[in-house]
């Protein structure tokens, strides 16, 4: 077989399927170059594992956090927002989790529900990207959805240039 260089890190991490693991080990037994590369990678992994841990939280970490949380409203699970119905609709159709698919789905949804939901959707279209994240986190079920999701925009890996 060709040199399994791309599998050497996974081999070290024990992340190869058993059959592939055995195959790579057999190759290593007869290939000094690949053994050398494996040892080089293993050396780096061992170096990293031996690094001292990052600093502990400061003594005031928890009290500062408590002060910040004291200003936060308690979570409310009783009412449902528009995103909850969007989520339910999405899960029913099992739309693939891509922003493109969601956008296309939203377009269909917007047409179907035009009279009833057009205004609300217009407000929420910009949240589509965040909606992907939220949907992936599980059920979206509260009236605070809009607020929560709006605050999640900072979490989106694709957003750039936001203040």
């Amino acid at each position: 077989m060709s040199h399994p260089l791309d599998d050497l890190t996974a081999l070290l991490d024990g992340a190869l399927p058993p059959a592939r693991h055995a195959e790579v080990e057999r190759h290593l037994a007869g290939c000094a170059a690949c053994r050398a590369e494996r040892d080089r990678l293993a050396g780096a992994v061992a170096r990293l594992a031996a690094l001292p841990p990052p600093p502990e939280p400061s003594p005031w970490f928890l009290s500062k956090l408590e002060a910040r949380l004291a200003d936060e409203p308690a979570p409310d699970l009783r009412s449902r927002g528009i995103l909850a119905s969007l989520a339910a609709w999405k899960w029913r159709l099992a739309v693939p989790a891509t922003a493109v698919a969601a956008a296309a789905a939203m377009a269909v949804f917007a047409v179907r529900q035009q009279r009833a939901d057009e205004a609300a959707l217009a407000q929420h279209l910009e949240l589509l990207e965040e909606y992907e994240l939220v949907a992936s986190l599980g059920d979206v079920e509260t009236a605070e959805d809009a607020a929560v999701v709006a605050s999640l925009d900072e979490l989106s890996p694709r957003k750039e240039g936001r203040p």
Binding site: P52, P54, L137, L152, L155, S156, K159
Partner: protein
């Protein structure tokens, strides 16, 4: 997922038990501060980021469902927040000094990270230089590689857990971790192989 004690705490918090949330952040504060430290050098900033993560967790608690493993849920919030912070920092840096390097190499070694017991001055210096090299390495990595690498090498996550955290496939994680580990092998080559006694001797 019912056996996940963190998920149970999250659900208790959803039912209105505020002490459950406190238990959650007490359990994870140290790990979160350490994790954020892999993305920003300033310890105070790392603590602020970790606090932000718990505030976001508090805000999104209502939408949490135990369908997502709590650990991957937490680290997903944290990873996205830290990467976002990096982008903000780079943007601000570009505005402030268009020609400047992203990561200045002149920062002093993190003294808190040095072994403080009976390590020799030479070992302490070596450890400081190694920590610096790792910081510089992390700063050079593309952000997805950096996230996957930190989760793998410093948080001890399996490829499956990383895939869940980064919302990508296990094969993508395998590739990200591999490329970052190759880069690490290059960056750490000057330090020689790891030795049990902390020495940097020649390969046997």
């Amino acid at each position: 997922m019912a056996q996940d004690p963190d998920a149970a705490l999250m659900l208790a918090f959803q039912r209105g038990d505020a002490t459950a949330f406190r238990a959650l952040y007490e359990r994870h504060a140290r790990a979160m501060v350490g994790f954020c430290h892999r993305f920003v050098k300033d310890p105070a900033r790392a603590e602020e980021l970790a606090q932000d993560v718990f505030v976001k967790l508090h805000r999104s608690a209502a939408g949490y469902s135990p369908r997502a493993r709590f650990k991957t849920f937490l680290y997903r919030v944290a990873t996205n927040h830290c990467l976002n912070e990096l982008r903000r920092g780079e943007y601000a840096g570009r505005l402030a000094s268009p020609g400047a390097h992203q990561q200045e190499p002149d920062a002093a070694p993190d003294l808190d990270a040095l072994p403080s017991d009976d390590a020799s001055p030479f070992q302490a210096l070596e450890a400081g230089r190694l920590a610096e090299a790792v910081t510089a390495l992390l700063a050079r990595l593309p952000e997805k590689q950096r996230a996957a690498f930190v989760l793998c090498r410093f948080e001890g996550m399996s490829y499956e857990e990383i895939a869940e955290t980064l919302e990508t496939s296990v094969s993508a994680v395998k590739s990200l971790v591999h490329r970052a580990t190759v880069a690490a092998a290059e960056a750490l080559a000057p330090f020689g192989p790891a030795a049990a006694a902390g020495e940097t001797g020649a390969m046997p």
